[in-house]
Symmetry: C2
Subunit: 190 residues, 2 copies
Amino acid sequence: MRAGTLALGLAAMTMAVTTASATGTLNAFTAPASARAEVEGGAEAKASPVYGVTLPRGYRSWTLISVAQENGKNNDIRAILGNDIAVKAFREGKRPFPDGAVIVRLAWRYQSSPRNDAVFPAPQSFVAGDPINVQVSVKDSRRYAASGGWGYGQFENGGATPGSALMQACAACHSKLEEGADRVFTAWAP
Amino acid sequence: MRAGTLALGLAAMTMAVTTASATGTLNAFTAPASARAEVEGGAEAKASPVYGVTLPRGYRSWTLISVAQENGKNNDIRAILGNDIAVKAFREGKRPFPDGAVIVRLAWRYQSSPRNDAVFPAPQSFVAGDPINVQVSVKDSRRYAASGGWGYGQFENGGATPGSALMQACAACHSKLEEGADRVFTAWAP
């Protein structure tokens, strides 16, 4: 590595640290190298800005926690999946979630289904259209202490959505939930 | 077993066969004893009328295939899960589904979430409310030859919903789908 490149990298990381510290979120020094690349503007980063969260291997086969549907700008239908640690906590109603819990939210376009409506007795059917993005919440009470123990990431087409403002919005929104929710929107759907 | 009880049982089974044959659906002779009990009017049957389909053990942990939402009389939000055989076929786009494929549809009340709306930027959020029922489709091309290779069941609170008319409605509705769908509404959500 050339000295100039190293210096530039360190300067960018220092800037990121300064910015993140001001908002109380995590900084680039706690994130893995792949996340630091994103902080520095890498276009196809595999880890989220600020938190260094990656898309978990095999998440698509994880257990369903619940489903939801958002109107407005989101206009999506979604499924929330969890790894075994998260699912166990959901099933037992355990809060706060233990370290290692990972929750994955998949969103697809909320789409009317003329095909189903032609068969059903009334026009009423909405299905999952094109995938929009996947959001990941990782519980690590020490690493993510500054954001209530949760690190966040958003992924589109397998790559992390860039922008530290988006990540700070995750934390800000989740932190508005009632005491005792451990910053989690979703409840177990029996 | 007393001779009188046996004779009564056979008479009931013969009636069931006569009724089912007229509509082209399966008859009580192909269903297990638990389903026959339901045909004969058992109140807490574990197997569906007509098809003798049971609620699969561990289905709640099966892999998510997709999500959907139905308005109108249904007013539900739903998740469709599958066993490994079904999921493999969905992932590979394989039709018809191989024998042993099982698809489970869970439906919950489609419910506005004031809690989420208080946090989100706009009133827009709908979540899974109380569970409504679980519908199960089992592929067995020989056993269920008369209904396109699929047997059906609906379950509420762990018990099979009674009524052969409901089961015949399952088959009738699924059979209206286009050629090549193998009578399955759901597509894999990536």
